[in-house]
């Protein structure tokens, strides 16, 4: 059977009350210094006017940056695009990853080889993958269009048309992301006892029913953290879009975080970009709390 609720140290025999703190202290200490300090600095910057002209001495300007961010219409366009980007990437990665995991979760000679090929995108650094895909999308030389030509389909302006460009970056990110989901699902699937499926078969369960009522709930404890983190990472992913389309054409594949990069790094508006980042942070925080709370993902599968 699966899981038990967390117990307090007193109940678990052989454990002292200070055990949990001892176990978590090292990780917490490390993060306190190397994550909290930069975050705090970033938050502080958000309330200042640091920019190219105010590089060495900065003034505290309260909420002016935030006001500038949310009164800019572009913000909402970018937010919408970030949402579409994130949802598409995560949905497709999870779907494909789970589907492949189910296919591989059985006795099948040679499945180790398939698994190896399918996990490779995860072993490729993003900047290399982006480069390879960028060449594949090129209008005249790219593999995809060359193949389409062979099939007598007219070539697609992958990188010069905003909608196609958006599809292109989603495709690249899904290619990069599905192996991760596949491995998570594979790991989770292996922990589902076979007896459950057999029992369902006896009761006359169909494939879809078994999936919905056995597989999905049992995968919940591992899938929810993975999806939550994946949403957060994808929402804030600068690299893939930057490397494949540069945000183009015409800045139409930009998402919220690429704007942070542009205003902070290209225009040196450090204060503004930090405020922008803080707002993105709050958006994601609200999402995470809602998502984890609604799916009760921090609890076990049987609760």
């Amino acid at each position: 059977m699966a899981r038990e609720p967390a117990v307090s140290p007193g109940l678990l025999p052989g454990a002292k009350p200070w055990n949990p703190y001892a176990y978590t202290m090292p990780a917490l200490a490390l993060m306190a210094v190397f994550v909290i300090y930069p975050l705090a600095y970033g938050v502080w910057l958000a309330f200042t006017n640091m920019s190219l002209t105010n590089f060495w001495t900065v003034k505290f300007i309260w909420f002016r940056n935030f006001y500038n961010v949310i009164t800019d219409l572009d913000f909402y366009v970018l937010m919408f695009r970030s949402l579409v980007w994130t949802v598409s990437c995560v949905v497709f990665s999870v779907a494909i990853g789970m589907w492949l995991a189910i296919l591989l979760n059985r006795k099948l000679p040679g499945k180790a080889i398939f698994r190896l090929f399918l996990i490779l995108p995860w072993a490729i650094p993003q900047y290399i993958a982006a480069l390879s895909w960028k060449t594949m999308f090129q209008h005249d030389f790219g593999t995809i269009n060359l193949v389409l030509k062979q099939l007598h389909i007219s070539p697609v302006p992958w990188l010069s048309h905003p909608t196609w460009a958006f599809a292109a970056v989603i495709l690249v990110n899904v290619w990069l992301g599905f192996p991760f989901m596949m491995m998570i699902c594979l790991g989770g699937l292996q922990s589902i006892p076979y007896e459950l499926y057999e029992a369902a078969d006896c009761d006359g369960g169909t494939g879809w029913n078994k999936f919905r009522h056995i597989t999905l709930p049992m995968l919940r404890p591992v899938l929810v953290p993975a999806i939550t983190l994946s949403v957060v990472w994808t929402f804030n992913l600068v690299n893939v879009i930057y490397l494949v389309t540069g945000g183009g054409p015409g800045n139409k594949t930009d998402i919220l975080v690429s704007n942070v990069y542009r205003t902070g790094v290209d225009f040196y508006r450090y204060g503004y970009a930090s405020a922008f980042s803080l707002i993105i942070f709050l958006i994601l925080l609200v999402f995470a709390m809602l998502f984890v709370w609604r799916t009760r993902g921090d609890e076990g599968a049987t609760e």
């Binding site: 002209t53 590089f55 060495w56 005249d140 030389f141 054409p249 800045n251 790094v265 040196y268 503004y272």
Partner: protein
């Protein structure tokens, strides 16, 4: 299982210990530096650059310098243009960073405004500065102060043509269209002309041909002008008539030209070396005149040496002076120019026979006569960033030239105001 785990644990702990030791060693090293024995004191100068093929270009010269100046040790670090700028700003914030930075002069606007470099009028003697071309020096002035020591003028786009495919350069755009029509008929998979269609740096020459410019005298952006609209229209025309490919960034244009699938390419002096290495028979000419308008005016810029504001120690200042003066001496500039094929700023080097008779530079000289200096103010960054998306949209057929020009102007004005 336990035994194996123990073994693994031991190996990995050793690993960890080793790496921590290595880390400590590295930090100990950096902490040791201030305590040096009396004289001669060895000054360690860190030099950041973004030169193409930097190893080939700089390292022999740096070695010669260090041989001649035993008390100065130079460490060269290469960064790409954007990273150079960002990392230098970040480094100086943390009181770190190189003493000397070498990059394009549009860094002046950024670095000077942020206050991360120091003015050089009194840093160097007037006698040294007088050996350099005055226009180039002026190009590195902002608000009356000199911020960089330029070592070359150039970087201009030119027309480079493959003599095997087109024996003579076309003089104007009508000739280009005529050639393209014939060429396309005979070679379906080839293009008459290629260039980087994603960066406005390549659009700027055409803007100049129509008499436009991106800033007016008061340094306000002027992106919504008839000249700009005409330049956009020209791009659409070239694409519609099949003269240029539907999509082409820098690498695609290079690939086409190097593979012999394009007759002409608009590119800069830095690229010529690559074509010559491939033994291509190329010619260099002025970018063709726009029929019914003027000659295209590509941007020229200088590349200059900047000095970090953190250089205050007298010994370091002397070392920096010696280094920069050496790099801009007649001999060094002659050597460098032979490789990068651009005009040295040292007036004596400029007039030397070696430079005057270099075939590539002779052909490129014509273009320099029809060129315009690239603006170096910090707002130029905003111009590039707002111009670029509109250019891409126009070429993709997603926006009309008129709308694109209007949008670019509005966006640019807004963002410049925000930058304050």
């Amino acid at each position: 299982m336990t035994l194996r785990k123990k073994a693994v644990a031991i190996v990995l702990s050793a690993f960890l210990a080793g790496s921590l030791l290595a880390g400590c060693a590295a930090t100990k090293e950096t902490k040791k530096e201030p305590d040096q024995p009396a004289a001669p004191k060895v000054v360690e100068l860190v030099f950041w650059e973004q030169e193409e093929a930097a190893e080939k270009v700089f390292d022999p010269i740096l070695q010669k310098f260090m041989d001649a100046n035993k008390n100065i040790k130079i460490t060269r670090v290469h960064y790409e243009t954007e990273k150079l700028r960002t990392n230098f700003l970040t480094a100086v914030q943390g009181n770190q960073g190189p003493q000397v930075v070498f990059g394009p002069d549009d860094n002046v606007g950024v670095f000077a405004t942020a206050g991360v470099i120091q003015p050089l009028d009194s840093f160097f003697d007037a006698s040294f500065l007088s050996t350099l071309n005055k226009t180039a020096l002026d190009g590195n002035r902002l608000n009356g102060k000199l911020w960089g020591v330029p070592d070359r003028i150039g970087n201009q786009l030119m027309l480079i043509y493959n003599k095997a495919l087109i024996p003579n350069a076309p003089a104007n755009t009508d000739a280009v269209y005529k050639f393209a029509a014939d060429f396309k008929a005979k070679n379906a998979d080839k293009y008459a002309l290629v260039f980087n269609q994603t960066e406005p740096f390549w659009l700027a020459p055409w803007l100049g041909a129509y008499g436009g410019s991106v800033f007016n005298d008061k340094n306000e952006p002027t992106l919504d002008t008839p000249a700009m609209v005409s330049a956009f229209k020209l791009m659409q025309d070239l694409k519609a008539k099949g003269v240029i490919p539907k999509e082409s960034d820098y690498d695609a244009a290079e690939a086409l030209f190097k593979d012999g699938k394009a007759a002409m390419i608009i590119n800069g002096p830095w690229s010529v070396g690559g074509y010559l290495d491939k033994k291509m028979d190329i010619g260099i000419a002025k970018i063709p005149q726009v029929s019914g308008a003027g000659w295209p005016k590509p941007y020229t810029s200088t590349k200059a040496y900047f000095v970090s504001k953190l250089v205050t120690d007298k010994d370091m200042k002397d070392a920096v002076k010696t280094f920069i003066q050496y790099m801009n001496s007649e001999e060094t500039q002659k050597t460098l120019a032979a490789i990068h094929k651009q005009w040295p700023t040292n007036t004596k080097a400029n007039e030397s026979d070696v430079i005057k008779n270099d075939p590539v530079m002779k052909q490129a000289a014509a273009q320099l006569e029809s060129a315009t200096p690239m603006p170096i103010i910090a707002q130029m960054r905003v111009v590039w960033d707002t111009w670029k998306p509109q250019m891409q949209l126009v070429i993709a057929g997603q926006a009309t030239p008129e709308k694109a020009a209007k949008d670019a102007q509005a966006d640019c004005v807004k963002k410049i105001a925000e930058m304050k």
